[in-house]
Subunit: 337 residues, 3 copies
């Protein structure tokens, strides 16, 4: 698997500088790439690495050309071009379609002959697995699930019940979809569980990261529209609705019945409280908590900045004192507020 | 499976308004329910949906009666009444007790003949599984565990060792109970692992959400009293003690040896530091960090409110400056504090 | 399994006070220990328990001697001495090396005859399992992985692909290592996935807690140096580098390409943003967010203190107002800043 610089330029439709016969046999970071490897430059933080790179070819914007010591491919979107090349270099073992003899498949389940079912997989009653699906080892698919064409459950994924997915959905190991929502109602000093009668619907081309959980709806479904991208360790409560093309970073969480718009970016560890609405094209920065609905696109934050601990302790004490002045005669200067 | 409005009223012991012969065949949200479906109204946020609902019957409080366009069942606790009806409409595939031929069960383990053991389950030495238990596919139960009657491990649950559970405990997929606590002691610039010699005890009627972890004790046990309810993705450290009827929302965490009281509510993403005590009937709001013991029932919070990012940046800078004034001559107006 | 006080003192090389023939048959907490049990005192919070203990022997520092009602072993590092004794009392079922008949092992994989492979384990193409490894039930090891001598995958661990581990690495249940990093690039209003071509390298003596995830590199590897200790529910993004002897507490997270130094302590729920550098010997307190690189050893924090909710609401409102004064004529007193 190798291409010349000229071949790469042609396949990508990009201009280049350098010897068109230069042969590229792999991809690597600016720092580690050697003369037969391709790299890319998109984050200005790495300009020193660009200037020192030994990479055979670098994909970069024309404005960064002068910082590149060697050959280059010129692109307005270097990372996108690099992602495309990356796909050509990706190797995956080929799986022959078929069902591993150890799999436990309910007689009422339907598995397309073009699907691959790995070892130690259970498929429950009335579930349907589409053509080209790959169900990795140790996955458990409960009753009444549907997987469209080309879904991939890498390994040890659980679909509890009533999970319906579109095409090309990618689920990483440890994902749990369709577990009971957290529905409790107090009754005489104890908790009574609220039955969770809904399901989960997941659109085409969604990707769900390792150990992420998406509960099924209490009534009606929890919904991810198409092309939603969830990182690892995320929690999505029952009856949440997430709009198309929204991406959520690791350890973020959305509580029950919240509604997130399209093209949103939710930072790592951020949280959205239950029953809120977040409109399209909202960015929430890392570890912020959304405590009210957001009606305007834009970037939102909470939290306070990182400080050296002793300095922080003093500021924190002052924060606690902030409430005091309110109930009292206001100092003269506050009239400026 | 269907009931008339009159039958529902009688079974629930509730007054109703409307045609007693009206037949209800399912449950749904106010927004989606049709004329043969039942819904409920408990959160005032959804009053517009109540006014517009096409639901055949709505369970609601008498004070909301006038906002309901159709028939209704009158209850002081609409959500509780709805939870009860929900149980009648819940359907689950019946599992015949017995042991799947693929299961790997240690000869010294005891499995009650009334228990159901799914495929690809391992049960270790000296463990005991009570009557009516359901051990879902891919679960691993290590040595010296005990499960009381009617416990349910949905699928892919791990009980590492020395986990003793009461009756009717419900564990969702990906749960890990009884793993080594995080005990380290420095020795000559490296870490030495502290042996974790205790176990975990879980009371009757507890529910543990998907991918939640509860470590076993270092010495003595990690304990959940009865009717504790944990959502998904929660972390409970070694030797934590959680009182009866406490509920914790998703992604919250309790560090080692902390003690949480009874009837507490811990919000999503909240944290409790190690060795602290939280008394009964304490509520911690979402993403707050408990940094000192709490001796008085009530509601506690930390964090700062969500703001538009530019506004937040300015406030955050001012927060950093809050410490400065302390070590200096105080401005005159501060004397008001 | 029991030792006399005299034998313990000799094996540990410690001075003692009390009857050398006193026999110790187990370990327990100060509160629960009886006359034939050993305990230790290292956290001054538990001094009342020390004074009231019924433990046969307590390991403690000479300065705490007078608070101990019974016999004692004197150590400068009581917890370390206790950890050593703990190892002698730890019991584990012996596993005979060999491969469980249910395991699905690719013909091109190499399993050392001294390794133990549990039930329902899959091992993929070209992977190599060293001597003395223990691969617990339900684990999935993908292609091109290498495990050094004495690694232990407790149960249900997934190594997705290209994961290379040193010796004596301990992985708890639910761990996922080597899943796709979260790499996305926008293309015409949709997400395009960036291929993740790297792997993961993990040094000797690392320990990874339950349900923790470590993604593989996009280009090059995600790296944990030796003796790194990760608690449960942690997220480590692609191309992160964590230095030797660093410990991270539960629910913490490090975003892609961040670099953490050696001997760092990352508190529970803390986060480190992507591409940052944290130097050696840095402590981050619980639930803090690292938003800029840290060049100086020390302790760092963010967040605000826990407060009674009504008091907190007032302080939070004042925090929101903090930004206001900046763009306006500054009040006279602010000139002191």
């Amino acid at each position: 698997m190798s291409w010349t610089l000229g071949e790469l330029a042609q396949r990508l439709g990009l201009a280049f500088e350098g010897d068109p016969q230069l042969r590229i046999e792999g991809l690597n970071t600016l720092e580690a790439a050697g003369p037969s490897e391709l790299s890319f430059f998109a984050n200005t933080r790495y300009r020193p690495q660009l200037r020192a790179t030994r990479a055979g070819v670098v994909i970069l914007s024309v404005r960064d050309r002068d910082d590149c010591p060697g050959a280059c491919l010129l692109s307005d979107q270097p990372q996108l071009a690099f992602a495309r090349v990356g796909e050509w270099f990706e190797t995956d073992d080929v799986h022959t379609p078929g069902i591993h003899p150890s799999a436990a498949i309910d007689p009422s389940a339907q598995v397309d002959p073009g699907a691959t079912i790995g070892p130690f997989v259970e498929i429950g009653p009335r579930s349907r697995i589409g053509a080209g699906c790959h169900i990795g080892a140790g996955s458990v698919i409960g009753p009444d699930c549907e997987l469209g064409e080309g879904c991939r459950l890498v390994a040890r994924v659980t679909l509890v019940k009533r999970v319906r997915m579109g095409r090309r959905v990618l689920l990483h190991p440890g994902v749990v979809i369709g577990a009971d929502g957290f529905g409790l109602v107090p009754e005489a000093g104890r908790w009574r569980k609220v039955p969770q009668l809904g399901g989960v619907r997941i659109g085409d081309d969604c990707e769900i990261g390792a150990n992420t959980c998406i509960d099924r709806g209490a009534l009606g479904d929890t919904v991810l529209e198409e092309d939603v991208r969830l990182d690892n360790q995320i929690q999505v409560g029952h009856n949440v609705h997430i709009g198309a093309h929204t991406a959520m970073a690791g350890c973020s969480a959305v509580a029950g019945s919240a509604r997130i718009g399209r093209h949103c970016l939710i930072g790592g560890g951020a949280g959205v409280l239950g029953h809120l609405e977040v409109c399209d094209r909202v960015t929430i920065t890392a570890m912020s908590l959304v405590t009210h609905s957001i009606r305007e696109p834009g970037e939102y934050s909470s939290g306070v900045p990182l400080m050296e601990n002793r300095q922080w302790r003093r500021a924190a004490v002052r924060f606690k004192q902030l409430d005091r002045s309110q109930g009292r005669p206001r100092p003269k200067d506050d009239s400026h507020d």
